[in-house]
Amino acid sequence: MTLNERLQHLNLFINFTILVITGFALSFPTAFWASPITEVPAGMTLRGFLHRLSGVAIVFLGGYHLLYCAFTKRGRGIIRDMIPTWKDALDLWETLKNNLFINRPPKKIKMGRFNFREKFEYFGLIWGTLVMTITGFILWFEVEWLKYFPQWTYHLARTIHFYEAILATLTIIVWHFYSVIFNPDVYPMNWAWITGEMTEHEMELEHGLELERLKAESKTRLVEFGEAYAEGGGKVIPLHPEEEMKSTRSIRRLYSIVQSLNETIKSWRGA
């Protein structure tokens, strides 16, 4: 993942979390976890403001992502690789058969750049964002909306907004968190959202086809550029080496600063 994509993810991560908390604090105002919002003076007013702010941020993020996909080469590549194919359904089916021990021994499944889990989630996210944006704006501009539509449509928007929020939140917790955290292959965490890279082993398990393609590509490159990428070792070679290196370096630097600070604190024996 490029820095740009990681920042998009970070943006989505932060705003989605804010939306979930500030949104469900309205639906469950007496819940214990809502008390930091409800017990603060004007907390509910602030909650509404923050919810709309984050909503707008995600709408802008969606717009940005659209432009990114349309006007960058890498973006177009993402869309091309994201299109669901019949193979994805087969992959899902075979994985299920593996999981239920119907395939014995389990079949090795080689998946492309985006596997069925990721495609499902990506299109789920797009669907969710669209639904939440439309219903959210109806709820926000209720005076304008109710000039032209009957009142029950407003209630419909409220109902959809609420249940879609539950669906989206549970999808993130059940589907996404399993993929990137609780999946025994990646546990404790898939670092890709921070470093932008994943290990060859992870790659082999989740994106076997893509790994083969990349290896073949890097072989041709190796011929062209001599030993330039030999030090890559087990790492997957990034698609855009120049900007990728810069960003990972700066993040590594930050990480090493934190680490050395940690060491200093650990070995602190007083002045």
Partner: protein, 422 residues
Amino acid sequence: MRGKEGKYKPLILFLMILSFLVVWIISIDKGWAKNSFCFECHKDETLKKQDERGRTISLYVNETEFRNSAHGKLSCSDCHVPIKDDAHAEGGKKKADKKVNCGSCHKEAEKEYLQGLHSKMIMKGTERAAYCHECHGKHDIFPSKNPKSKTHKSNIDQTCNRCHSDIEFVREHALGSIIPGEEFKKSVHGKSGEVTCISCHGSHNLRSLVDPKSSIFRSNIPQTCGSCHPEITQQFVESIHGVLAARGRTDAPTCTTCHGIHGIKAKVDPDSPVHERRIALTTCPQCHAAERISKEYRITTTPVKSYYESFHGLSYRGGDTYSANCASCHGVHDIRPSSDPKSSVHPSNLQKTCGNCHPGASENFAKGKIHSVASVKAEDIGDRIVGWVKVIYIVLIVVVIGGMVFFNFTDWLRKTIERRPK
């Protein structure tokens, strides 16, 4: 001669006035002579007697206090009548035991008192019921405008509370566990210093809660409060609550149902039941979410339920005071049924009512049922659609999320089993 006669006229006048004065002074002096005769014995602080029940009663009278009191110029025998003809000092003491009759002078007050609850309780044989002296004092009576008086507005509280905030007394007379004094002290009325017990309860003629003539009888409460809050009472008696209360419906609220009784607080006080944070949580729902009342009056508990589930209600429950509560739309003292054209929730007034918070609310904005609950069985087509969407979404969530949980669990299980120690 004539001239001489004229000359003595002023002198005669002077002598006449003088003789009147002398007679008056002598008469006073005579009284005092008598009183000082009484005080010869009654100045003794240890003077006591035993009554029929064997209780010890002090017979001491503070002379200076008595002289300064409103009755200071009266003779002892003016009130303690039997003493006159009795050989009181010589030992016939029992004759003086009779209660003093204040009514012989204070006829009007006596007449009122005899209609009041305290006198009735005495007639019923209650021992600790208020006679005149319980509230006014005995030898230390002052006009009630005098700050030293027990019936001065600054002391009334203490005077009544001597009995009515005494737990023993309250228990004995089955007044519940109400200690009105404590509550009243903290109330906005108590803090004002202007309102006292007698402002609402009356004084000599105060009556029981169940007496229809009482100022605190249910249907009379709006009038009682209206003596200070006339405009509010005017609004209230025309409201649906006021009309029903005037019909004698005991379920219909009066002032005290929402505001509290002795402990009435200002509406900005968070402890007040009519504080904006509590109106829609406890005050209106105490009746409108109550099964019995809502069934009897066919108002159903749906409005409260649907409010709690609406944006207004959810935000309100989270502490938002900008969000509408019951009173925002229905009004406060002038609540009327939606069928009343004067009601703020009458269909013809809804656009304006909604517009108070939603500037630019169109005519269409206010159309449709507000307190409706969406369900697949609802009468309204819109409610039915929303109800169906709800059902579809719930099924969708269960299937999709359930499927994900199932898939991920099998995935985890396989990967965990593959990693089992061999």
